[in-house]
């Protein structure tokens, strides 16, 4: 399995080549091609590795080199290849490949074309360091590395003030999560004396419940930042300042899912603490619902999809908190595919409309761009949870599981499903159909995108249609990583502990086979209820925004306070800005003036002047001050010597 090192390093090499020669030799389109080749190689390698693991169910732990020694423990740069990391790596590399291809079209003519592909390749490298790590420090390396890549790419068009601000915001808000994450790592090291996952798992049984809970919660704090869950979600919608392929890759399919992956990766740790699982569940549920309400009333096409990403990540966390880790990971995979599709579709629209973002100013572009419209519809149906698209097979089981386990969670996830169906079809109708609100000048130029953009759309749409039917395979494939009964590397006492932690989900049976699940869904009360909810959401969107039987403005007026609350994103941004941006900055200014200038320098300069006065003779010259200090020194020496004699 030594060839696995190719997976992360192939994009790194592409990054270095483009970084060094991008502007001088490669330019456009060679830089893009180098990047695509780099990521395609790692996609092929990871698929080969995936097949190997699927066949044998083995796991491999390759140590590449020792990075940091801490006493007897070595933090190594390593590759842990087991079903979970293989799945995540395949998702990252395969989705990346198609998004890279799309980007060669999307970024056409941009003066910083090579820089874009260099950053993208860097991102993939960092993301793979994250997914392939066998210890928490390398995970943190990748974690911060993708944060850097995200920062660089959100700020890619840094000539814009808004982009520069959004980039900085994303990095700093992520750092709040990373602060907790790092403390979690430190606590884990002090507790276990190691940071390798497998060794941590081995030692879980003997550790105090409070400490396990603290470690899990601190690490989850990092996930809240990286996966933009409430209350650290505010950076993600603003991150839409980045080019659309970036939004698709980093801020939908891969990086933001890193938190979900991390929780699954450390499943035994989280499962050892009920409080930790409950927290994950609660934060996920609230994010799923609240983000969906925010998405209802936005008009920026990319921001609507961004809020949808927040919400869907919430579903994944909720699934993990419910103990349904495999379902959470399957939803991650499914979401990566259909959300990338939705973002790329919106990117295709943006190219056609010259980066017009307001859905209220679009309309009736569907006929001019049939492939985009068709594939977008598939993505939207998947997001809404309509069979036979993959979203149905990944999202419905989470809601059904919640029904069995926790009514509170069920109600919010179920409500969220309605909102999801509504907002995505609001977007769909407003953008592609409805009345013609488009500027006539733009209307003339609306056209379908070139093949290097439509082919990725078609591939992702196909995957959206097909993938759901492989669910049984996925669930079985993940068992050696996520089902304690099958986890070879866990000692028995830890297995018992983890099983007990996951017992909240033991009575839940979710049919893994796609056809059986579909049958169950169409015949059981609960299945029909959830499906009907989604259809109701779509229908309402159709009535309000397509045939216009209900006037959205009137509804907005009717529920004025709620509308305002949603439109202002529950005032999170306002409050944070007031406290952490404006407040912090003003406080710093005041502290600087009062603390450093008035008090400290007052004392310093004052004592200088005082000693000048004492020094007397040489008066106000610079030498005078020095003489003053000499005097002080003499006084000091006298005091000291008397002390000395006294102590003697």
């Amino acid at each position: 399995m030594e060839y696995l090192w190719i997976i992360p390093f192939s994009p790194l090499i592409a990054f270095i080549i483009i970084g060094l020669f991008g502007y001088k030799f490669l330019r456009e389109p060679l830089s893009g091609i180098v990047a695509v080749i780099g990521v395609a190689i790692s996609a092929v390698a990871s698929i080969i590795g995936f097949i190997d693991v699927a066949k044998t169910g083995n796991y491999y732990d390759l140590k590449l080199y020792n990075w940091i020694s801490i006493g007897d423990y070595n933090v190594s740069v390593s590759i842990l290849w087991d079903p979970l990391s293989a799945l995540m790596t395949c998702v990252v590399t395969c989705v990346s490949t198609f998004i890279f291809i799309f980007a060669t079209g999307y970024m056409k003519g941009d003066e910083s074309y090579p820089r874009f592909f260099a950053y993208l390749s860097l991102f993939v490298f960092m993301m793979l360091m994250l997914t392939l790590s066998d210890n928490l420090v390398q995970l943190f390396f990748g974690w911060e590395g993708v944060g850097l890549a995200s920062y660089l790419l959100i700020g890619f068009w840094h000539y814009k003030k808004s982009a520069a601000n959004a980039a900085m915001e994303s990095f700093v808000v992520n750092r709040v999560g990373d602060w907790l994450f790092l403390l979690g790592i430190l606590l884990a090291f002090v507790t276990f004396g190691t940071l390798d996952y497998l060794q941590i798992f081995n030692k879980l049984a003997g550790v105090d419940y409070v400490i396990i809970t603290a470690i899990a919660l601190l690490l989850f704090g990092g996930a809240v930042g990286k996966s933009a869950q409430i209350p650290l979600h505010i950076w993600l919608p603003n991150a839409m300042e980045g080019p659309t392929p970036v939004s698709a890759l980093i801020h939908a399919a891969t990086m933001v899912a890193a938190g979900v992956y991390m929780v699954a990766r450390l499943m035994p740790v989280f499962a050892s603490s009920e409080i930790a699982l409950d927290t994950v569940m609660f934060v996920g549920t609230m994010s799923a619902f609240i983000a969906a309400t925010m998405g209802l009333v936005q008009n920026d096409i990319k921001r609507i999809i961004a809020y949808s990403t927040l919400s869907q990540l919430g579903y994944m966390f909720a699934a993990e908190g419910l103990g349904l880790f495999s379902e959470g990971m399957f939803h991650l995979t499914s979401h990566a595919v259909f959300k990338a599709l939705l973002f790329l579709g919106s990117g295709s629209v943006l190219i056609a409309l010259h980066h017009l973002l307001d859905v209220q100013k679009m309309g009736q572009i569907g006929r001019a761009m049939p492939i985009t419209t068709g594939t977008f519809l598939i993505g939207a149906l998947a997001l809404a949870g309509i069979p036979p698209f993959v979203g149905f097979f990944s999202k419905d089981p989470i809601i059904e599981g919640a029904y069995e386990i926790n009514t509170f969670v069920f109600l919010f996830l179920w409500g969220g499903a309605f909102l999801t169906a509504f907002y995505i079809f609001r977007l769909f109708f407003l953008t592609f159909f409805d009345g013609d609100r488009l500027d006539p000048h733009l209307r003339e130029h609306v056209h379908e995108s070139p093949p290097n953009m439509t082919i990725p759309l078609i591939v992702l749409a196909t995957a959206t249609v097909v993938l759901g039917f492989f669910k049984e395979f996925f669930i079985n494939f993940l068992k050696p990583s996520l089902d304690p009964a099958y986890m070879k590397f866990l000692p028995n006492d830890v297995k018992a502990l983890v099983s007990e932690g996951l017992s909240r989900a033991h009575h839940v049976h979710i049919e893994p086979n796609a056809f059986s699940f579909l049958g169950h869904s169409l015949t059981s009360f609960l299945g029909i209820l959830i499906l009907a909810t989604a259809i109701a959401g779509i229908t309402l969107a159709y009535v309000m925004y397509q045939i216009r039987r209900i006037d959205p403005v009137k509804i907005g007026d009717m529920f004025q306070p709620i509308y305002k609350l949603f439109y202002n994103r529950w005032y999170f941004d306002h409050i944070y800005y007031a406290i952490f941006v404006y407040g912090y900055y003003k406080l710093s200014k005041v502290l600087w003036f009062v603390g450093d200038k008035v008090i400290i320098d007052g004392i310093v300069d004052g004592s200088g002047k005082g000693s000048v006065f004492a020094g007397g003779v040489l008066g106000k010259t610079q030498l005078g001050r020095i003489s003053g200090y000499v005097l002080q020194m003499l006084i000091g020496v006298v005091i000291f010597l008397s002390l000395f004699l006294f102590l003697k």
Partner: protein, 502 residues
């Protein structure tokens, strides 16, 4: 743990101190045009020597290597005693590197060119002397001598308020050194009264066991001298003033080398000489370290003058060195030493960046800056890497040291680690703020400014070659820190041997 002494086959250290002095004499007698090449050449020779020593240093056990000792004034027990352990050596190496960087960068000095280079050469000799000498008289002489060229560098080649800043720098640090002197004299006298030995050798004084009260007093006297040099809050206000006024090369040396003397002092003297007092004052040092980290990070973001911002960021990073050192365990002290090296690289690079911006746009004020990135891509890249290294991005040098320092701190005080860890957030805030306000937001520029910007030249050869080594070593330390950890570990154990035993 007793140190072994490995005598030098060839007096590398003495030669390294002499080379800059000889170069200074040559500059003095030669043509003005030769001043820069001679300085660069001599500094490169010293750097090569230090690198050779670094690569041939034997990190097993605790051995003082390249050791030389000659009697100087036997009546008072004063000798000339130089040698290196890993701490001395890494600081010596950092000094040598910083001076290469400073000399290569110094292209457009307008006045008193010869004097400028002479001042720097004398400064180099004194700085090296501080780190390699084991005799306290020589140490104190180097420590004080260093102030004079630095005073001149700020006072003569600085900006408009240079006299105030230079005086403040000089008086403040001189004030601190007096306490240091008193402390050292006290130790000397006490050693004589106890053992009837007159010796100014570090190792002789190390054998002393002091009564508790006296240990506390000596600790405080030395600590005041070091704390001002670091500088620790609340003794830090001389630093922003000095940096704002100092010429770029002066700021580089000030940040990369001079600040390290304070923390070097803590690790070298305070911990081994005063183990009980170090434990006793741990909470105080933790408190001051945390205040330094958070309070000065807030100071940094309040600034509009970019050099002052970077100066405050230095104070903030040195807070990590303080808490790492006073965690009094191997991780903490290892982290402190690596942070010292890393901060030398990153702060030097950031001051070079400030210097670059000033040379292009003739201002340090944020309101006159911004939107440069597109016009100077190579510079923007190196500046970004330096900023990220400073912000502690894993894979670059800043992370390793701060991670270890935090780990060491976490083991003894969770609260301190939690608060110090906040620097992840506030540090990122001011660093990215600095970058954004100087490099991004081109759309805010007026058309005339854009016109002016389009004529900007990217890094020239000299600038590139002084910037590049710093960035390269940021990667070297960040990606392969084990080599450095292995190098310093036994020195760290020696430093701590009276505290943790062994």
């Amino acid at each position: 743990m007793t140190p072994q002494f490995v005598y030098a086959d060839f007096p590398f250290i003495s030669i390294s101190i002499l080379i800059p002095l000889i170069a200074a004499i040559i500059v003095f007698v030669s043509n003005e045009k030769l001043a820069k090449p001679i300085s660069i050449l001599s500094s490169i020779v010293v750097f090569v020597i230090s690198s050779y020593m670094l690569l041939t240093y034997d990190p097993s056990g605790y051995k003082i290597q390249f050791y030389e000792k000659y009697t100087w004034i036997p009546q008072f027990g004063i000798s000339y005693e130089v040698g290196v352990d890993a701490l001395s050596l890494t600081m010596f190496w950092l000094t040598a590197l910083s001076f290469v960087v400073a000399f290569v960068w110094s292209t457009n000095i307008e006045k008193r060119i010869k004097e400028y280079f002479i001042a720097f050469l004398v400064l180099e000799a004194a700085c090296i002397g501080v780190f390699v000498t084991w005799d306290l008289v020589a140490f104190y002489v180097f420590w004080e001598v260093m102030l004079i060229p630095m005073f001149l560098i700020i006072g003569v080649w600085g900006y408009s308020e240079r006299i105030y800043a230079a005086t403040k720098f000089f008086i403040y640090t001189f004030f601190g050194s007096l306490f240091l002197l008193i402390g050292v004299i006290g130790m000397y006298i006490y050693n004589y009264t106890q053992n009837n030995i007159l010796s100014t050798s570090y190792f002789d004084l190390l054998k002393l066991s002091l009564p508790h009260n006296l240990e506390i007093i000596f600790f405080l006297l030395l600590a005041l001298g070091f704390a001002i040099k670091v500088p620790m809050w609340p003794f830090h206000t001389w630093l922003p003033a000095a940096h704002v006024q100092a010429p770029t090369a002066g700021s580089v040396i000030l940040a990369a080398v001079l600040l390290k003397m304070g923390t070097y002092g803590f690790v070298r003297f305070s911990l081994p000489w005063f183990p009980e007092a170090s434990k006793y004052f741990m909470p105080v040092m933790f408190t001051l370290g945390v205040i330094a980290i958070i309070y000065t990070a807030m100071m940094a973001i309040a600034q509009t003058h970019i050099k002052r911002l970077i100066a405050y960021s230095s104070v903030s990073h040195m807070g990590f060195v303080t808490i790492g050192t006073f965690a009094l365990n191997v991780e903490g002290v290892n982290g402190a030493i690596i942070t010292m090296i890393s901060h030398g690289l990153t702060s030097a690079a950031l001051f070079l960046a400030a210097g670059f911006i000033y040379e292009r746009l003739h201002s340090y004020e944020m309101k006159d800056l911004g939107g440069m990135a597109k016009f100077v891509p190579v510079f923007a890249t190196l500046f970004m890497i330096s900023a990220m290294a400073s912000a502690g991005l894993p894979g670059l040098s800043g992370f390793v040291g701060e991670f270890l320092a935090l780990l060491g701190t976490f083991k003894v005080s969770i609260l301190t680690a939690v608060l110090a860890g906040l620097s992840l957030v506030v540090g990122a805030a001011y660093t990215l703020w600095l970058y954004k306000r100087t490099m991004f937001e081109e759309e805010l520029l007026t058309p005339e400014k854009k016109e002016e910007y389009s004529k900007l030249k990217d890094l020239n050869t000299a600038e590139l070659w002084s910037f590049l080594p710093l960035v390269v070593f940021m990667f070297v330390i960040g990606l392969y820190p084990n080599w450095w950890i292995n190098l310093i570990s036994n020195t760290t154990k020696f430093v701590l041997h009276k505290i943790v035993g062994g």
